[in-house]
Symmetry: none
Subunit: 76 residues, 2 copies
Amino acid sequence: MIDPDGMTPVYRQVADLIAAQIERGQLPPNRPIPSETALMQDFGVARGTARRAVRELRDRGLVATVHGRGTYVLPR
Amino acid sequence: MIDPDGMTPVYRQVADLIAAQIERGQLPPNRPIPSETALMQDFGVARGTARRAVRELRDRGLVATVHGRGTYVLPR
DNA sequence: CTATATTTGTGCGTATGTATG
DNA sequence: ACATACATACGCACAAATATA
């Protein structure tokens, strides 16, 4: 899944994988993506890396984060 | 009790102490272990650390957590 | 039924230390 | 020196589930 020694940073790899799941509809609009803790376990990355991946998705306009609730897939 | 500068992480020290109490029967089956807030005070750690210790115990199959209720010692 | 308190779940921000490229 | 990444740990805020007054 994740290639730690690849040319692209791990956080972007994680972001790309989640983005792909959103495109496929595996993560439907208005539904939450996995929590930071879940992402850590799912991809085997540190918290900082997971958070950075989510931030990437926010910057791309794919998701929106709500404090205390989670990060949700935006409708498109 | 807890050695913050020891080789073993604080969260595992806390988990081990609770596990020992379970083994001794001081924390009986089907009864709740102390809440996260209580663990913070008892061991002088942050909530994140207390939560991580509880998570360790879950991963070891010693306890089960119910949202809004607490974490209970599993029968064995 | 409403309100409050307790407890867990999630997220934000930051800090320290280590290791690698 | 710098960026990336891991691991640990602190503190705080808001949300959700549960129980109780």
